[in-house]
Amino acid sequence: MKKIDIDSLRVVLIKTFNNSDVPNSINNLAMGDLKDWDSLGNFNLLLAIEQKYQIKFDLDEMSKIRSIADILSSLKEKA
């Protein structure tokens, strides 16, 4: 697994949602806070994170992740 830092995660967010309005601090963001971060957007985001950090979420993890905080804690468990 590649090193995870909040800045690179922010880049994934910007690329996935093709959105330059992503705030500088993303720690408190959750699904619904960004345009296109709906359930399909969430799926796209998780696939992008898997590719970027070379990890794999299982079905259970995927179903529970709904925010940046969820993502960070899930990634921490995998580290």
Binding site: F43, Q51, M62
Partner: protein, 507 residues
Amino acid sequence: MLVLFFEDIVPTVSFDLNFLSEKFSSLLKSISHRCNESNLPTVICWGKAFNVDPIRTAKKNTLEVQAYNWFLEQFYILLQKHKSLYFINLNQIYANKGYEKIFDDRNWYFAHCRVSSLGISTLANSVNAVLSRHFKASSKVLVLDCDNTIWGGVIGEDGIDRILLGQDGIGTAFVDFQKEIKKLVNEGVILVLSSKNNEDEVWNVFNNHPSMLIKRSDVVSWRINWTEKSDNIKSIADELDLGLDSFVFWDDNPLERDKIRSLLPQVNTIEMPDDVLKWPRIVKNLEYFAKFEVTTDDRNKTNQYHGRAKFVRDSSNTIDIHDYLKGINLCPVASNLSEALLGRAVQMCSKTNQYNLRTIRYSAEDLLKINSANNDFCFLINLSDNYGDHGMVALVCLKKVNEKVLFLDTLLMSCRILGRYLEAWIVSEIVRRAKKHGFEYIIGEYIATQRNIVAKDFFNTFGFSSLESSSEFYKEAEHLKFTKSGKHFIFNIKESTIPFLEIYEKN
């Protein structure tokens, strides 16, 4: 775009083959409907998410496979009916990467997405390839190096006996590489050589090496010398009258590739691995040359360009060009648009950049529409002469403005037959058709692009005079949406004459 997986539309627990056509005729009809309604391309992607096992298919096809094949057949029937419909067989494109990497059950149960990230990007790349070719014609010219490219070793040092070609191992890879090149030539790719060698040594290999598959007659033009390849390629482009963006460059030497990339960025320079064993497969899959269909015209391309090169050489030695042209048995034949000619007509619309008065890119549907108004209004011209049969080399589309006036909507010509004043004959053919339907005037428009300067003087040279925007004719034709920057011309059938037509009048 429609992505369909067999398992998602056919309930595989139990089903009856006989009900397929009943159940899915509406799906097929709606695809047909969409194709009839829109000129934009439609892409169907069809696949099967579950593989078949060897035991169940060892004696006969399972019901599932039979049903899957039924769909394949139906799609191929639709493909024949609709020119703008394309089909991607997902199982074939996925086979390269392997099913286990492509299908992702977690994605299916999480988001009803059958495939993995790799599956999505592979699908996207395939759709992109098909759509790019829909909008842009394939490359035309392949520039090849000789040493360590079509054979192993350096002819100037190793000699004809010791170059690697046709023996075991790597020598057979060079033969296979040549085999794939030969296939491209047969599909209409123009092969040229650019190689730093002594010319007679190269031709000695072509003429005398028993394993050479590429023949000297496959090579349309060559620059075998010690000059920079960028200069050589530019001069070949001038000679063939083709844009550098239709050139693909293959050279084993990374330095030469870098030079071409920086000096001639329009040329598509291929970056290949050092491992020659991988080359035959790479050539076979070169996207630059892939076409939807290979026409008869494509198959004759090498001959046509040989003929063209000879024509350029002969005519530059001739003092009176008119007498000379009269003596080469020019024989143009016009054919109205038909199903058999549609493919070539669309191809000409999409790739003729130079001799093209208005550069309107018509689809098959557009052309059929023009033809349905009057089937004398859309025709192609075949030209043959002492230099060979040049195939279908020009396309004309006409539109009615009113009872008296006809609009020359499209006139485009293949550059390989330029210099024969075929335009004069084409104008006479347009006039003949116009008279037949009672028209008295023909108006035309020239829209300048970066590439069509060669057609700039068509109207002035072949009997048309300028049409001012204040004239009645111009106003009548306004519904044709003239381009403001376009230049407009008129031909008076009763009064105007066609210069140079005598070249085509039989003695």
